[in-house]
Amino acid sequence: MLAYTVKRLFTLIPTLLAASILVFLFVHLIPGDPAAILLGDTATPEEIAQLSAEMGFDRPLWIQYFLWLGNVLQGDLGISIFFREPVLAVIGSGAETSILLASMTMFWIILIGLPIGVLSATKHGTWVDQITSSGAMLAASMPTFWLGLYLIMIFSVTLGWFPSSGFPSLSDDGGITNLRYLILPSLTLAAPNAALIVRLVRASMLDVAREDHVRTARAKGLHPARVTIKHVFRNALIAVAAAFGFTFAALISEAVVTETVFSLPGIGRLVVQSILRRDYPVIQGVILVIVVLYMIINLLVDLAYARLDPRVSLK
């Protein structure tokens, strides 16, 4: 296990560096003077010259990369053109919403996806399975923003049960009850992902059910429910647990659309708005943060997976 952890860490570092080079090159791929791009339209020639000297834009590209990487490692991702604030602080202000939204979405995915998947697998081949499987596929075929708009129309506009947009921080008035702002967005974001989990739980439970140890358990006369829970479900859960991790990592960027529909002040909407405002330092910073987070979460999932299923680290 230790050897596997070390091995995985060593493969992570080159991938991280390569990804950081791509993120660094992003600003250089935009036509124009990078200093002028980073400072926006209102910058004076003096400011542009100053930033050019600071970032070494007149020096070879690889030196620029190391200067940039040095800044990044010290937490300096540049200054937002639009907000006139450090990029890290801008990203940080969206973190609460994004993390809460992703967590709440995971909650729904587990609460809805897991039981339906188990039901679908245990009733394999019956009409229950057909309805749940097709329903899951239908949910995965919906554009999330479309679903979100209809949820707003039904539950906010018509019934008035939940607020339709925005999210005040948990530290504002209302405290924990402010989470009601995230109920509709998290359900919207959960729908297609829960559908994938349903399909995955079903597939991996059916896989495990074909294995010899399950046949043995049945042959020695165990109660079918006990076989399903202890022998099939628990083993199937290993693959599903890994999928949960990957889903969580992907949610941060998948939330882009949902956050836009519900006007949530999260990182996802920040990306879109920054693209529309041409706020390149923020775009670059968000990409870097999301990619690093994504890779670290994926690494942790892999390690957890190897721990749950020791065969993985032996391969």
């Binding site: 390569a18 596929m137 075929s141 708009l149 693209i275 990619v291």
Partner: protein, 283 residues
């Protein structure tokens, strides 16, 4: 011929998947003959007849510019087909080539697959957004961006499959009989990959629709004047309470088409060569 038999077997006894397949055929036909069947010009603005309810002669009603929603929906089928087929071609060509070459030429492959790993570190939608930032809004760029995003997963999958095929006896036989590299790759390996490629294509087609609609919604996809189902939803979303039909029809068209494509993909996957079962994830 083998592919035809494969198709026939895949749909045998699957009513829902067959219905899905027929729906997709209908979309393709509508896309081709759009100018003949659309009752109005999809771009014609009529300030007087704004937001009229579905009825005659505007079957699906009109939008906030007074444009006929039914005609726009029919022309939208064109964009669906262009985006779907285009992204599939880009993804399969780039991804397939990288995957096959990487598996066949091990040394080059090691380098190429590491590069694919790096690109896969970018979540799909984020990568699409990054690429879109660098390009202008146009149909070609949308196709390119979505195609490139799915090229990475395709490369991974084809890499695994080619690696498996490479170990088969018939490849050894081809090597012994003096076949060259390109002959082995394209005449012996590629034909064996056609049915799994078809499965992959159907899933990419489905995902491409959702990605394109999401990009349209964010204002970063097709140019706003292009009548696509995603653009129709995006433009008319503020009229959801006043003119709900403007969102129901294009939305349902997207859902039914993506659902159909997923059903077709599932049916194809279930009848695929068992050797490749584990490789195709469908996600």
């Amino acid at each position: 011929m083998n592919t035809l038999i494969f198709l026939r077997d895949a749909f045998a006894g699957r009513k829902l998947a067959t219905a899905g397949f027929l729906w997709l055929c209908l979309i393709v036909v509508a896309a081709i003959i759009a100018p003949l069947v659309a009752p109005f010009d999809p771009l014609e603005i009529d300030p007087v007849g704004r937001l009229t309810e579905p009825g005659w002669p505007n079957l699906f009603g009109t939008d906030h510019f007074g444009r006929d929603t039914f005609s726009r929906a029919i022309y939208g089928a064109r964009m669906t087909v262009i985006i779907g087929v285009g992204s599939v071609l880009v993804a399969l060509f780039c991804g397939g080539l990288i995957g096959m070459i990487s598996a066949y030429f091990t040394r080059l492959g090691h380098f190429l697959m590491r590069a694919v790993d790096v690109l896969m570190a970018f979540p799909a939608l984020l990568m699409a957004l990054v690429l879109i930032t660098l390009l202008e809004r146009s149909v070609v760029n949308t196709v390119l961006v979505i195609g490139i995003v799915y090229a990475t997963t395709t490369a991974r999958i084809l890499f695994g499959m080619t690696l498996k095929l490479k170990g088969e006896t018939f490849i050894d036989a081809a090597v012994c009989s003096g076949a060259g590299n390109s002959s082995i790759l394209f005449r012996h390996i590629l034909p064996n990959l056609l049915s799994p490629l078809l499965v992959q294509a159907s899933f990419i087609f489905a995902f491409a629709q959702l990605q394109a609609a999401a990009l349209d919604f964010l204002g970063l996809g097709l140019p706003p004047e292009v009548p696509s189902w995603g653009n129709m939803l995006s433009e008319e979303r503020i009229y959801i309470t006043r003119a709900p039909w403007l969102l129901i029809y294009p939305g349902m068209l997207i859902v039914v088409s993506v659902f159909s494509m997923n059903l077709v993909g599932d049916a194809l996957r279930d009848s695929i060569d068992p050797r490749f079962k584990d490789d195709i994830a469908g996600v």
